[in-house]
């Protein structure tokens, strides 16, 4: 994945992790809980899925590790590219939802 341009569409897991990290650094368990709350229990991820996704997101430049001393509680934060990607994906989803509403309304 390029480190300069958002790569869309995102998977639901990546989208929700980015959303959970918007405006706040969080550790793994906190991210899992926030994702679950934001998605209304639709996206439930365990530690393996979460850290696999975080590794790929760090590699893609979307997320970075914060400063932390405790290896059990590593905090993660959004990068500038992560914020741009989140906004772009939100726009894309909004357009898709608008189109779907229009078509469903006219049916």
């Amino acid at each position: 994945m390029s480190k300069s341009r958002p790569q869309l569409p995102l998977t639901p897991a990546v989208f929700h992790i980015l959303l959970a990290l918007f405006g706040k650094e969080r550790h793994g368990y906190d991210i899992m809980q926030q994702v679950r709350a934001d998605s209304g229990d639709a996206v439930k991820m365990g530690p393996g899925t979460l850290y696999g996704s975080l590794d790929r997101m760090i590699e893609a430049g979307l997320v970075a590790k914060g400063n932390t001393q405790d290896p059990r509680r590593i905090y993660y934060r959004l990068t500038a590219l992560g914020q741009t990607t989140l906004r772009a994906e939100t726009e894309r989803l909004s357009r898709a939802a608008l189109l779907a509403r229009r078509q469903l309304g006219s049916a």
Binding site: G28, R72, R73
Partner: protein, 193 residues
């Protein structure tokens, strides 16, 4: 919600710590402590053990498959799987559901054999190549155990069914050992993910 280090670990946490060994070592080096802490937090918050293990079981299956099939060893297994499907399809085309086609049945045992050897290598480490070390590692004991079980099952099967051609239970198990051998060679050639 970080637990004090001296607090006694639960059996579930110890089991989860053991299951984590199935992940690639480089991944564990980065995340092992975090994953154990997350599990402890999930366990504290879980309404029941069943719900906890349902989530963890699904998570382990999905994330391990993702790690495995992204590796060179995973690509090798995909190639074996495709070959298996092709051979089975060709065999079915020629023979139909005819019972007693040993080549087809035996190949069915190949995949579980590969899986068993993969888990053994992941859990018990890279096997020793030197004959002087044989029987000294848990890996060797596991392989010998499977081999003895195979002979026992075959003898019991032969005793009950005699030389019945095409008894699936015997033939499927026949493919188990070649499957283990194939994975043993593959882990040496491609390395573990």
């Amino acid at each position: 919600m970080t637990r004090p280090a001296r607090q006694k670990e639960s059996r579930s946490l110890r089991l989860y710590a053991r299951l984590l060994e199935l992940y690639p070592p480089s991944f564990l080096q980065r995340h092992r402590a975090e994953m154990l802490q997350n599990f402890a937090d999930l366990e504290d918050a879980a309404a029941s053990k069943a719900k906890l293990w349902l989530l963890i079981g699904k998570d382990l299956a999905m994330s391990l498959m993702s790690h495995f099939f992204g590796s060179r060893l995973g690509h090798y297994v995909i190639a074996v799987l495709v070959t298996w499907i092709l051979i089975f399809a060709i065999g079915y085309f020629f023979y139909g559901p005819t019972p007693g086609r040993p080549a087809l049945h035996a190949f069915a045992g190949f995949l579980p054999g590969m899986l068993a050897m993969y888990f053994a290598t992941r859990l018990y480490g890279t096997p020793q190549n030197s004959i002087s070390h044989f029987f000294r590692s848990r890996f060797d004991i596991y392989v010998v155990g499977v081999f003895v079980a195979w002979i026992l099952l075959f003898v019991i099967g032969y005793y009950i069914y005699g030389p019945t051609r095409g008894h699936p239970a015997l033939q499927v198990f026949g493919g188990f050992l070649p499957g283990m051998l194939a994975m043993y060679i593959a882990t040496h050639v491609y390395g573990m993910p």
